[in-house]
Amino acid sequence: MNFLRSPRAIPYLLLLPAILVILAVILLPLLVSLWSSLTPYVLTRPASLYQFVGFRNYERLWGNSDFWWAFLRTLVFVTVALNLEMVLGLGLAMLVNQITWGQRTIRTIMMFPMMFSPILVGFLFKYLLNDSIGFVNNALYSLGLITDPVPWLVDGTLANLSIIAAEVWMSTSVFAILLLAGLMAIPAEPLEAARVDGCNAWQVFRHVTLPFLMPFIYIAMTIRSLDVARAYDMIRIMTNGGPAGRTEMLWTLIARVGYQNSQMGSANAMGYVSILLSIIFTFYFYRKLASARAFMGGAQ
């Protein structure tokens, strides 16, 4: 009781509501999820929630090719999309950094895709890429580049590329805006010093600009890794894992197994794998960010 009145308790008391909410809405469900992944829980048979079967669900995942394909596809999707976003975002930021007149307006326009929720982005691209009435096919047809409609979302490979394109469209701005802020924060002296010392444009970029940008790149990566799973919304409306499971990611597979097939136990096992994946991913970038930040702090 004495502790609660002492000044040492103040930060904990301030954080208490936040901790309680996280415990109730994140941690407790995670425990429920862990438990139910160890049971054969099916929504239609509530009693099966109390039937412990050990790691049977996980063992079954091991031999489940659908799961492994979805897992692999998710990894490839995240890697390709994030790297593309990073490179394109950096390119865009450096372009915009070169112009002096109208930069503020351009930056505002750049935020445009960030306002769209992932479900809207999914709808946008589903509509644009529709094979009979979509903007893209109509434009290509009018330009005489195609004679038959391209099945953007019906062909497996094209559908995967379309999803990556939608994701890149949605999130490149996040990188561009954060990296532009980074570019503008770079002091002029080191850049000038490097030029005076005879560095060419590439060397200046590689040895001065890029090291300065690293913390900003990690911030962008951390922020993106927090909500990379929001791509589920987009895929849900664009293809919902189709055609014939060719665009199935972990997230769509979880929803399908859990809600459509009511196999909650098995879905929670998959869910756990995806949760661990996200947490590892975020933790990695957060550590990188912390060390880059310490480095920046040391330099200043």
């Binding site: 909410v21 996280i22 306002m115 644009l128 849900r236 879905a267 869910g271």
Partner: protein, 297 residues
């Protein structure tokens, strides 16, 4: 003589190169802006077209007969359409859920951010990382256990159930942002106020809160947009008009084989308008908050 010529020629060639470079930069920027804007613009145009124009061949690029009927249709205001979708109700649900969870999340998150910015205490960095990691749990994966829990305690398909969930999603990010904003305010200001006889509580509300106000506003808008746009959790935790939100309602327009493109576009415009306005208001603080909250540790 020759030396004079070269001396004149070199700067001119350089300025030519500079000019060409500037044109290339502008061409690149304009191309990028078109790619970023065109998809959204196309949907806005569709929202104001009659359905026949969408299906027309050859393609009609600009609306010939702009109309508001799509908006009237989704609100059920067209006389010839018997049952409109309950979009008005969805809009209201979205508004109530987003505003409530935002206000509470900002209050709780502000207390947390202040604690991280102003105090040293055991377990601080662990706790901070734990908050960040809690935000990274994928929505779909979280929805499974929440679905099980919420249906046991009767929170399924209620606005309250969704408000509580959005609190947990918004609090970590609000903490991250407000922590950054409070760090930027010199400690000396509130210390001076406390020497002048304010309590810590008074010093906070009279000195630090007014200074952090714009930052807090952007944290609030960020939280609002997250709730306003959320789909993965809402799609599983809501069932009927009692609690369905706009993003979930958008899926009402897709049947198995047919999609109501004009209706969906009109609804998309309704979803995007609040987001558009709010993002324009906070864009400056948003960038500052994200970068400096993160970089200057």
């Amino acid at each position: 003589m020759t030396s004079v010529v070269t001396e004149l020629a070199v700067p001119r060639r350089r300025s030519n190169r500079k000019l060409r470079r500037r044109w290339l930069v502008w061409a690149g920027v304009i191309f990028a802006m078109i790619v970023l804007c065109l998809p959204g613009l196309w949907v806005v145009l569709t929202a104001f077209r009659p359905n026949v124009e969408v299906l027309a061949r050859p393609t009609i690029w600009l609306p010939q007969n702009p109309t508001l009927e799509n908006f009237l249709k989704i609100f059920g205001l067209l006389p010839q359409v018997q049952e409109g979708l309950p979009v008005g109700q969805y809009f209201l649900n979205s508004l109530v859920i987003s505003v409530t969870s935002t206000v509470v999340a900002v209050l709780i998150g502000m207390a947390g951010g202040y604690a991280f910015a102003r105090f040293r205490f055991p377990g601080k960095s662990t706790l901070f990382i734990a908050f960040m990691l809690s935000r990274s749990v994928p929505g779909v994966a979280l929805s499974l256990p929440l679905f099980i829990l919420w249906s046991r305690v009767g929170l399924i398909d209620t606005p309250l159930g969704l408000i509580i969930v959005y609190l947990a999603i918004n609090i970590p990010f609000t903490i991250w942002l407000t922590d950054g904003f409070f760090r930027q305010i010199p400690v000396e200001l509130s210390e001076a106020a406390m020497i002048d006889g304010c309590s810590r509580w008074q010093a906070f509300w009279r000195v630090e809160f007014p200074l952090a106000k714009s930052g807090l506003a952007s944290a609030a808008i960020f939280a609002f947009l997250t709730s306003w746009n959320e789909y993965a959790l809402a799609s599983q935790l809501t069932r009927t008009t009692a609690s369905k939100t706009m993003p979930v309602g958008l899926m009402d327009f897709t049947a198995q084989f047919t999609v109501d493109w004009t209706g969906m576009s009109a609804m998309a415009v309704l979803i995007i308008i609040p987001a558009l306005i709010l993002t324009f208001i906070v864009q400056k603080h948003l960038i500052a908050g994200l970068t400096f909250g993160g970089v200057k540790g």
